[in-house]
């Protein structure tokens, strides 16, 4: 086990210990001890409830995340590179960015019924503007000297995007992906709360009605573990591969 992993483990253990202490010795209201939550986590995993809802939510998450990232990156680069488009759509972007999730969700449900497609569309509409804004910022900060180089050697559109622009956008992309997963998760909870009959959001709302913080936390932890796995096996390796050149 290498040192970064070890560090990470220590850090998680410390956090759990801290939480346990807070919950048991200070008896903070509504904060169940970590042990309790873990016990609950095991239970709902064993009885199949958690895997079912988690699976459903993850499917929604993956579909809407992929859609949002692809659409967002394309639009973001477009706006960043074309000042005229940017001037024109800047307003639309700002409006989309600030429409409450509630509004888009309601409208999607009304127009398309309480369907999967409506749920996913609602999430995508909420997430895309965030990706666009981040990527646009990155596109504006591109190194023109390298673009000129690509230009003079007639790289063409595809080579330029792949080898000159993409690597420079990468950190922005990572920022968008990381905050994006978290944002989608937040929105999906609302989407599922308002019009789905399954999924983590639906479940968490039920627990919330009962004030069952233990179960909410158990579900949250399950989700965090999944995100952690995505981070460990997808994002981190991607990032490492993309930043070997920084040594």
């Amino acid at each position: 086990m290498n040192s970064p992993r070890l560090n990470a483990c220590i850090s998680v253990v410390l956090l759990l210990a801290f939480w346990q202490l807070l919950a048991t010795s200070l008896k903070l209201q509504a904060l169940p001890p970590a042990t309790e939550v873990l016990k609950q986590l095991v239970m709902v995993t064993e009885n199949g409830q958690l895997p079912y809802h988690l699976g459903i939510t993850l499917t929604r998450l993956i579909v809407s995340f992929s859609l949002s990232m692809i659409i967002g990156v394309l639009i973001g680069i477009g706006l960043g590179r074309q000042p005229i488009l940017d001037q024109f759509f800047d307003q639309w972007l700002l409006i989309l960015l600030n429409i409450p999730a509630l509004v888009t969700i309601i409208l999607c449900y009304l127009w398309f019924g309480l369907t999967e497609a409506a749920a996913i569309l609602a999430v995508v509409i909420n997430k895309v503007p965030n990706v666009v804004v981040t990527i646009r910022e990155g596109t504006r900060a591109l190194d023109t000297r390298l673009l000129e180089m690509a230009d003079s050697y007639r790289f063409g559109r595809w080579k330029t995007y792949r080898h000159v622009i993409w690597p420079q956008l990468f950190p922005y992309l990572m920022a968008a992906a990381r905050t994006g997963l978290a944002l989608i998760w937040k929105i999906i909870l609302v989407v599922e709360l308002l019009g789905c009959s399954n999924g983590m959001g639906y479940q968490i709302h039920l627990f919330f009605q009962l004030f069952d913080v233990t179960s909410i936390l158990a579900y949250t932890i399950a989700f965090i573990i999944v995100i952690q796995l995505i981070e460990m096996f997808i994002l981190k390796p991607l990032e490492q591969r993309a930043s070997t050149w920084r040594q």
Binding site: A30, L114, L193, G195, L210, D212
Partner: protein, 318 residues
Amino acid sequence: ASEPFQIKIGVVAFGTLQWELAVIQQFELDKQENLQLRLITLANPQAGKIALHAGTVDIGVADWFWVSNQRTNHHSPLTFAPYSATAGALLVAANSPINTIKQLAGKRIGIAGGEIDKNWLLLQTLAAKQDVNLNETVDKVFGAPPILNQQLLQNRLDALLTYWHYAARLESNGYKRLLDGAQMLSMLGIKQKIPTLGYVFSDQWAHHHREAVLRFLRISQQAKNLICTSEQAWETVLPLTRSEDKQTQTVIRKRYCEGRIQHWEAADKLAASTIYSMITASHPNLFPKQSSTLAAGTFWDYTLSNSTTTKHPTILTK
């Protein structure tokens, strides 16, 4: 006179409690009982529950299932005194072919409140008696009540089980009431009027201020009666119903008044715990750490008999 006793009440904006408090203020009922009511308006019932737990309010409104659950799971000191028996209803379109529970099978039904909604649980229990497993045969659609209302209006649902004030709006739009909470209970053999919602407060607090709490319950009862009998009071309430249309207003008032609790005695409490046992028996995994019987102390030690409700008849003519 001594200083008026102050009570902080969590009120859901435009909820019926707000109607009552408006009437209490209009008729200065609180002054008569030497109470000072401080309203903390909140956007939805969940906020009210948080406020109760956080100790921001002394009294809030919730259902006794929840109170029992809190007592079992969180050693919560919360306790319950009845507030209203108005219950939700199952609605279908006027021309709907659905007339019986059996016909619900295979249909798309909206259920407000999700799978732990008490009416949904009752409906399932009822159906089970007719050998129908609703949970499996019905295409359930859970969702937020306003959205479900719209879905029914758009004919995207065949039937909708929803809260009473949403039901009232649909009713005045020509939708048919197939069943309501009280009917379901009576079909299950319970003749008493069982409260759906109640005042919820900490039992220690109530113990220390028992007199004041009783006075509060009394004026609340008076206010209810005023709303149902005095046009002057109803005028005050009207804007709070947030409904422009006469039809709806009438239905709302009717349902509201039907839901007044006239008595709350040992037999009523027993009936309530019977319902609890009935539901939990047929749904053993409804809650985490579910107990099969109602938690002790769920109902505050307080009784209401017919005589107390008309204690101040003079007010009506004021």
